[in-house]
Amino acid sequence: VTTLAPASGSPAAGSTGGVPANLRRSSLSQRRRITDKVAQAAIWGSLFVTVVPLGLVTYYVILKGSRIISWEFLTERIPRQAQTAGGGIGPAIVGTIVTTGTAALLAIPLGVLGAIYLNEYGKQGALARTIRTMADVMTGVPSVVMGLFIYIGFVLVVGEQNALAGAFALGCLMLPVVIRTSEEMLRLVPDELRQASLALGARKWRTILGVVLPASVSGIMSGSLLAVARAAGETAPIVLVVGLTYRTNWDFFGGNTALPAQIYRNASEPYDAAVDRAWGAALTLVVIVLITTLIGRFIANRFAIKER
C-alpha cells in the first residue's frame, strides 16, 4: 500500500483531527480554487445562455401570436396584399397537413424497410456500412439543396410547383432520419425473439414482419413522429417547390403553401398586419410541432420495449 500523495500545490501541513488539513478544500492554492469556481460558474452560465433564448422565443411567440389567433384566423383565406389586415392562414395549415402528411406516408414505410435491410440483412457488411454512413451524411444535406433537387427532378419535369413536390422534398429530408432511428429500434429487439420465430419454422420475412417489427413499432413510431415534427417546420424547400396560393387547396396539384412559407414571407414585410400574421402562423406551427413531438415522446415512454 502506497501512501497518498498530498494534493499538489498544498504544503504538507500537520493534521488537526478529522480530515487532514492538507486535504481540505481550503488548503487548495488560491489559484486552483478560483479556477475551479470560475469554470463551474461558466458551466452554469452556459445553461443560462441556452435557457434565455428559448424562454424569449417562447414568450414572444405566445405573446404576439395569441393576440391574433382566433377561429377565423385559423380558417380564413390568406389576403392577397400583405398590408391588408385581417384574413387568416387556413390554406397554409391545409398545405402543411397535405405536404407533411404525404411526406410521412412516403418516407416512413421506405425508411423502415431501409432500416430492416440494414439491421436484418446487411448488418456489418460493406454495403450496409456505406448506406449507414451515407444516411448520416444525408441528414446533413441542407434543406435548401433538397428543395433545389426536387425543383429540378420534379417541378421542371411536371411543369408546376405543387404540394406533391413539397411532399417529395420533405420526404427526402425525413428518410435518413427515419432509417437511422428505426434501425436503432430494431437493434433493441432481443435476438431470442427472432430465434424463437425461426425455430417455429417461420420464414425470415414473416419473422421480421410478424415478430421483429411489432416488437419495435412504438420506438419506430415515436422516432418517425419526431422526424415529422422536424419536417413540418422546414421552410426552404416549401418556398422553392410548393408555389403559391391564397385559397385552400387540398389537392396534390396546383399551387399550394404551408405555414413556414407564410411565416417567412410575412416576416420580411414592413407592414404590421403581415408581421402579426407571421406571429400567429408561428404560434400555430409551434403548437403543431410541439403536439407531434409530445405524442412521439408519449408513445416512446408508454410502449417502449421493456428493458430487461
Binding site: 469554470a39 431501409g114 456505406t130 441542407p142 420464414r203
Partner: protein, 336 residues
C-alpha cells in the same frame, strides 16, 4: 447471423420444398431497394444539380468563385456587358456566419454537456434535457422571425456600444465597424444560428462525455484534482476526437441553415470585415432570389450556389462521421 445452422435444414423438411422461398427473396429485394434509395438520392442530387448548374458555371468560369459581383439583371440592357454571377461574397458570408455561430455555440454546448454529465443534480438533469430538446424542436423560421423582429432592433444598441468602445483599436476595430441601423447583420445571423446549433453539438458531446470511464474521473479526484482539473485532465483528453466531430456536425448544420440566416443577415452582396454590416450567404441567396432569378443563366447560377453548398456540407458531414466513429471505437476500447 443469429440463425442457428440447424434452422435451414429443419425448415426445409418442415415445409414443402422451397415453400415461401420466393417471398423471402422478394422481401429481401424490397428492403434492399429501400436501403439503396439513400445512395440513389444522394447521387441524383449531385448529378441533377451539377447538370443544371453547368450553364452558369461555364458562363462565369472561375469568376463564380473569385468575383463578388452578383448582377443577375443585365446591367446595361443591350450593351456589351452581360449579367454577372460571382458568388464570392456569399461564400464569404456563409463562412463568417458559420464561424461566428461555432464560436458562440461550442463553448455553450460543451458547458451544457459538462453540466449534464458532471455537475447537474439529478432532478435538474431531466429539465435541462427537455430544454435542449425543445430548442431543437423550434423550427428555424420561428427563430428567424424572432431574430428579425425582436433581436435585430434591440441588438443594434449593443453593437453601437461595442463599436464605440472597441471600434478605435487598429485591425481588431475593423471587425466592429459602424453597425447597420436595421440590425440585420452577419453578427446577428451568426448568433441566431449559434443558438440553433447548440442542441446538436450538445447531444453528441454529451454522448462522448458519458463514455469517459468513471475510474478515470475517480482517479483524478482521488489525486486531489478539483472538479475542473478532473474535467480538464480526465474528460477532455478522452473525448477530444468526439468533440471535434460534434463541432464539425454543428458547422455543417450552420452552413446549411437557410431561413433564419436569410431573414437576419440583411441581404447585401459585399465583402467587408465589419461584422456589424449586412451580408449574404449561399443558402439565403437561393431562397431570396429563386422566384426572380434574373436573366438566364440566373436560375442556373443559384443552383450552382446550391452545388457549392452541397459539396461543402457533404464533405464536412462525411468527415465528421468518420471522426466521431473513430473516436467511438477508441473509446469503446478504453471503456472495456
Amino acid at each position: 447471423v443469429t440463425t442457428p445452422t440447424t434452422q435451414r435444414a429443419s425448415t426445409a423438411s418442415l415445409t414443402h420444398k422451397g415453400g415461401g422461398r420466393l417471398s423471402d427473396r422478394a422481401f429481401w429485394l424490397v428492403t434492399l431497394v429501400a436501403g439503396l434509395l439513400v445512395l440513389a438520392i444522394l447521387a441524383l442530387i449531385l448529378l441533377t444539380t451539377v447538370r443544371e448548374a453547368w450553364p452558369a458555371l461555364s458562363y462565369s468560369g472561375t469568376d463564380f468563385f473569385t468575383s463578388a459581383t452578383w448582377a443577375p439583371n443585365d446591367p446595361d440592357a443591350d450593351g456589351p456587358l452581360g449579367p454577372q454571377f460571382g458568388a464570392l461574397a456569399f461564400i464569404y458570408g456563409t463562412l463568417i456566419v458559420s464561424l461566428i455561430s461555432i464560436l458562440f455555440a461550442v463553448p455553450v454546448a460543451i458547458g451544457i454537456a459538462l453540466f449534464l454529465t458532471e455537475l447537474a443534480p439529478r432532478r435538474l438533469r431531466g429539465a435541462v434535457v427537455t430544454v435542449i430538446d425543445l430548442l431543437a424542436a423550434v423550427p428555424s423560421v420561428v427563430f428567424g422571425l424572432w431574430g428579425i423582429i425582436v433581436v435585430a432592433p434591440f441588438i443594434v444598441k449593443v453593437y453601437q456600444w461595442v463599436h464605440d468602445v472597441f471600434g478605435g483599436i487598429p485591425v481588431v476595430g475593423s471587425l466592429f465597424g459602424e453597425p447597420v441601423s436595421s440590425g440585420r447583420t452577419l453578427m446577428t445571423a451568426g448568433i441566431i444560428v449559434g443558438i440553433m446549433i447548440i442542441p446538436i453539438i450538445t447531444s453528441i458531446t454529451r454522448e462522448v462525455f458519458a463514455t469517459v470511464p468513471e475510474s478515470d474521473k475517480h482517479a483524478a479526484l482521488a489525486l486531489g484534482a478539483t472538479r475542473w482539473e478532473m474535467i480538464r485532465g480526465a474528460v477532455f483528453p478522452h473525448s477530444f476526437g468526439g468533440m471535434v466531430g460534434a463541432v464539425m456536425l454543428g458547422l455543417g448544420r450552420a452552413m446549411g441553415e437557410t431561413i433564419a440566416v436569410s431573414l437576419t443577415i440583411g441581404a447585401a452582396t459585399q465583402i467587408v470585415p465589419n461584422l456589424f454590416a449586412s451580408g449574404n450567404a449561399l443558402p439565403a441567396v437561393i431562397v431570396q432570389n429563386f422566384g426572380d432569378p434574373g436573366v438566364p443563366p440566373g436560375r442556373s447560377a443559384l443552383i450552382a450556389c446550391g452545388v457549392v453548398l452541397f459539396v461543402i456540407t457533404v464533405v464536412i458531414n462525411y468527415g465528421a462521421r468518420i471522426v466521431v466513429r473513430r473516436a467511438e471505437i477508441r473509446m469503446k476500447g478504453a471503456a472495456a
